[in-house]
């Protein structure tokens, strides 16, 4: 079961997690990653962030990443939520939650999903700081993290 959502509205972390395992007694492990907005980035105080996406392609890209995870590991459920629009420090930005029978599969799939999402899903962050506004640059460390999952 794969559930992908891109939304401007905030989400409830606990409710999203519960939706993945409640009523499914075969689930033995739930692993969740939540990305939160920081108020500092590279020395600047960030007061707001605007998140842009490519409607249509973003959902397709997330679905493709989730399907790849589903093929590589033995999973019970995958949920990927990503916010867009206006964000403030402490807001949850992204949630990746994975359920499986045993923890190992869920841990690996969850890390794979967020590593691939960061380098392959069309989202762009613009930070509004004391110094003005700017588009966030992509990080080579994110590329390196995604490369670890390449299969020979």
């Amino acid at each position: 079961m794969i559930d992908i959502r891109v939304q401007a509205e905030p989400f409830d972390i606990a409710a999203e997690q519960e939706g993945l395992w409640r009523g499914q007694p075969r689930v033995g492990a739930l692993v969740t990653f939540v990305g939160l907005m920081r108020d500092m980035n590279q020395g600047d105080r960030v007061g707001r962030m605007l998140l842009e996406h490519y409607p249509g392609m973003t959902e397709k890209a997330l679905l493709a990443i989730a399907e790849e995870a589903d093929n590589r590991w033995d999973l019970q459920g995958i949920r990927v939520l990503h916010r867009v629009g206006d964000l403030r420090p402490q807001d949850p930005i992204v949630l990746v939650a994975v359920t499986s029978t045993h923890r190992g599969e869920a841990f690996r799939a969850c890390e794979f999903l967020i590593d691939y999402l960061k380098t392959r899903a069309p989202f762009w962050k613009k930070e509004i700081t004391d110094q003005g506004e700017h588009w966030v640059d992509s990080r080579t460390t994110d590329e390196a993290a995604a490369r670890r999952w390449k299969q020979e």
Partner: protein, 84 residues
């Protein structure tokens, strides 16, 4: 026609979110289309300059410079992604 979309920093620098471009007569690739836009000069040649890392998608799938572009396609140009 080819529908061309621009996102994030590109959209702001170019001052447009997208446009329709008449399909060229000869077979066209993503690189050909980028070159055509680059030849407009001004901000277009700056944004699409060699050495700038610009990604492209054709019909909402990540594309490469040699990916073909056909009449009716949706082509998007955008900077490296920074979600998550």
């Amino acid at each position: 026609m080819i529908k061309v979309l621009y996102f994030a920093r590109l959209r702001e620098q170019l001052g447009t979110a997208g446009e329709e471009i008449p399909s060229p007569a000869e077979p066209t690739t993503v690189a050909d289309l980028a070159a055509l836009l680059h030849r407009r000069g001004g901000v277009w040649s700056e944004v699409l300059a060699e050495g700038e890392t610009i990604l492209a998608a054709v019909n909402q799938e990540m594309a490469r410079p040699e990916t073909p572009v056909e009449d009716g396609d949706e082509v998007a140009f955008f900077p490296p992604v920074t979600g998550g």
